[in-house]
């Protein structure tokens, strides 16, 4: 994992001091809320329905046990004892007091964490594949380039006041677990005909009220030229992105307005000037960063194979967990373990301070002291010995983190919605709870198979509803909460936006509608195909009929 050296640490400490001074000026009245707003927004501090909300970057989802303990400490001392993992691999605290923020930031800085650019119209925390460096289908570890990009955009002086926020995601694998096609820039690693790794650059994806799947602006870019190419895209966007209307300010609007070919021409015109300049990444720098991501000291082990299945012979629940929550590791004898934050007891993505401490201990014991956050709001241990899976399962189960539902119906993405969010039209957490209640039975859950449900409390789409296999969007209809459904969305390598089913459903009807959709799928399913394949084959008609009746 990347560790700060004296330069990285100095920058973050200076930022903490700077923000401390700004908070003091706000508290003693030198700054009014209007003047303070842009400053706090550059430090991840939002004003929400009930309190301030602090968003902490977890760069490309990598977290050490030491960092998680610091987050537990902050949750306990400055918040109400829990934190919320988001779809952007970040962590949010919903109940922070302004006067405590400088101390919380200082505690974060001690463990090499910060909130710089976690909000505001700037380049946000970069996200990536939660299995990076461990996945057997990977070309190269994307974290190396994530870190290089992270340093480049941190306090980038030219791009601190963009037309709108800007999100970059990177995957090193052809199987996209980082949803790169729905980011402002998505980078997908490919090998060219000469066998060299480079990046396909995708631009103009995004969700929100006008969702778009990104378009490929360049098929293959040498890794050394990554930063100059990003800088060219950002400069064109900074100069020509719309600033008159915040709903039309994202880069996707510019790309669609110009068309990808004209946008590409402008970017390349700009790039010609800078492509061989000081932004070129020297090989020694790539090697330096690469060294931080060297694999841990694996033992020489064999894959357990059939014995692994045998481990769970007597236990349905363990076997179910093995099937859904455990993934293949590229090193023999090891496995990747997903910790589900989608149990029945807490809102999706929430973790208490005590759970954080316990998870940190488990990470130390079973996974070299590191963990990951994924964009579906779960945690991941990436280096678990297969022989210790059963033991770990038992411990996770007692923490309520072994719900065997990863990738299944109850592994929902869900935004905070009207329970916390000032922009919400409807609640989303209670809808998730109702769906969880309906699908609690293990056998049923696994019989349904891979199916993602994503819920947002308003058109801003923080809950990724456009790219959920089933998407649920909360709207306000004459003062009542209604839920519109979309089907067929996906954020993987074949990303697609969902199609509207028709009129929305009330809060009481929403979970029933999900059940109707699932039952219809089970009726039309052939050869065990997953929901998405079935939907793409049969289309909307049978679902529409089941939901609204024949017309």
């Amino acid at each position: 994992m990347y560790r700060y050296d004296e330069f990285d640490q100095e920058l973050v400490s200076e930022r903490v001091e700077q923000f401390g001074r700004q908070v003091t000026r706000r508290l003693n009245g030198e700054l009014n809320e209007d003047q303070f707003k842009p400053l706090r927004l550059m430090n991840g501090l939002y004003l929400q329905l009930h309190a301030y909300m602090l968003r902490i970057n977890v760069p490309y989802g990598c977290l050490s046990s030491r960092q998680l303990r610091a987050l537990a400490h902050i949750a306990r001392v400055y918040d109400k004892g829990f934190g919320h993992f988001t779809t952007r691999q970040n962590l949010q605290f919903n109940w922070i007091k302004l006067e405590d923020v400088p101390d919380a930031l200082a505690a974060l800085a001690e463990v090499e964490m910060h909130c710089i650019q976690s909000s505001g119209n700037c380049i946000r925390n970069i996200t990536s594949d939660q299995y990076a460096g461990r996945a057997s289908d990977e070309i190269e570890d994307p974290r190396v380039f994530c870190e290089i990009i992270r340093q480049w955009y941190t306090l980038h002086p030219e791009f601190a006041y963009l037309p709108r926020k800007f999100k970059i995601a990177v995957t090193g694998s052809p199987n996209d677990r980082a949803a790169v096609a729905v980011h402002d820039i998505g980078l997908r690693m490919h090998v060219n005909s000469a066998g060299e790794p480079g990046f396909e650059v995708i631009v103009g994806g995004g969700q929100g009220r006008t969702p778009h799947i990104g378009k490929t602006i360049r098929d293959w870019l040498p890794v050394e030229q990554l930063l100059s190419y990003l800088e060219a895209i950002l400069r064109v966007y900074n100069l020509y992105g719309r600033r008159d209307n915040i709903y039309k300010a994202r880069i996707k609007i510019l790309v669609n307005h110009l068309g990808i070919n004209e946008f590409r021409r402008q970017v390349h015109e700009e790039w010609e000037f800078i492509k061989d300049g000081s932004l070129n990444i020297p090989h020694e720098e790539i090697n330096r960063i690469n060294a931080y991501f060297a694999p841990p000291a694996y033992e020489k082990l064999d894959d357990l194979g059939p014995e692994l299945d045998g481990l769970g012979e007597t236990n349905d629940e363990f076997q179910a967990w093995m099937r859904s929550n455990v993934a293949e590791h590229k090193v023999a004898g090891y496995a990747i373990v997903n910790l589900s934050l989608k149990g029945p007891d807490r809102p999706p993505g929430d973790l208490t301070a005590d759970q954080m401490d316990a998870v940190a201990d488990l990470a130390d014991h079973y996974s070299f002291g590191e963990l990951r956050v994924n964009h579906r709001q779960n945690l991941v241990f990436v280096d678990v010995k297969q022989s210790e899976l059963k033991e770990l399962w038992g411990k996770l189960k007692s923490l309520g983190l072994a719900t065997p539902n990863i990738g299944h119906v109850t592994d929902m993405i869900c935004c905070p919605g009207l329970d916390y969010c000032a922009l919400a039209n409807a609640r989303s957490i209670p809808i998730a709870e109702k769906i969880t209640e309906r699908f609690e039975g293990l056998k049923r859950l696994h019989a349904i198979g891979d199916l993602t449900i994503n819920i947002s409390g308003c058109v801003n789409a923080c809950g990724h509803h456009h790219v959920g296999n089933i998407g649920i969007l909360g709207v306000d209809k004459k003062g009542k909460e209604y839920y519109q459904f979309t089907l067929g969305g996906s954020s993987d390598q074949n990303a697609s936006l969902g199609d509207r089913t028709g009129p929305g459903f009330s809060a009481d009807e929403a979970a029933g509608a999900v059940e109707t959709i699932v039952n219809t799928y089970l009726d039309v399913r052939q050869n065990g195909e997953p929901f998405l394949d079935a939907y793409r084959r049969v289309g909307m008609a049978p679902f529409k009929e089941a939901l609204y009746g024949a017309d």
């Binding site: 050296d5 330069f7 990285d8 100095e10 920058l11 200076e14 930022r15 001091e17 700077q18 001074r21 700004q22 003047q35 842009p38 400053l39 550059m42 119209n121 340093q151 480049w152 941190t154 306090l155 980038h156 002086p157 030219e158 791009f159 601190a160 006041y161 963009l162 037309p163 400069r235 900074n238 100069l239 600033r243 000037f273 300049g277 000081s278 932004l279 720098e285 330096r288």
Partner: protein, 172 residues
């Protein structure tokens, strides 16, 4: 308004003629892009120092061949959220090789000064009671940068490289 230039509090010696119907007979003037286009010959004949004000929708490529005529280019920030002039400043310095005074005018906030400084501005029109103190706070806020920009300051990558060279040298 107070003017900070190269870290000092100074008097503005340019008369702001942007928007005036008649150009003043004598003295250094700041003119608009329209005025420059319309009165170019007259302005050059005056043999006085010349400044150009560019608004945030006026790309400096419009005058890229003329930059050597200007002693001052002022870039306007109509609101602090409008970040186009950060790019313009870099282009003026790095691509069009403008070496004169590059001034930030309009909605210029203390917290933005270090960004502005980094992209190539060397003077700032501040609406402040204590401009010099503000400048000093802002200028001293950060000492580490990752990006190579017009101000030529060493980046973290370069500092690391030098540190390693030093360590290597002292180990020999």
């Amino acid at each position: 308004m107070a003017l900070i230039k190269n870290g000092l509090l100074v008097r503005d010696t340019f008369e702001n003629a942007a928007g005036l119907d008649e150009l003043p007979d004598r003295g250094a003037v700041l003119v608009s892009l329209d005025q420059w286009r319309e009165h170019r010959d007259q302005l050059l004949r005056r043999r006085e120092r010349l400044g150009l004000l560019l608004l945030s929708d006026q790309h400096p490529k419009e005058i890229s061949a003329d930059v050597h005529y200007f002693d001052l280019i002022a870039l306007d920030f109509p609101g602090f959220r409008d970040g186009r002039a950060y790019s313009y400043a870099r282009l003026l310095r790095e691509r069009f090789k403008f070496t004169g005074e590059l001034r930030a005018v309009g909605d210029v906030l203390l917290e933005q000064l270090h960004y502005m400084h980094r992209v190539g501005f060397n003077s700032f029109d501040l609406d402040s009671e204590q401009p010099l103190a503000e400048w000093k706070t802002a200028a001293g806020e950060f000492s580490v940068w990752y990006q190579p920009t017009a101000d030529g300051r060493a980046t973290a990558t370069e500092l690391r490289h030098w540190r390693n060279e030093r360590l290597r040298a002292s180990a020999m």
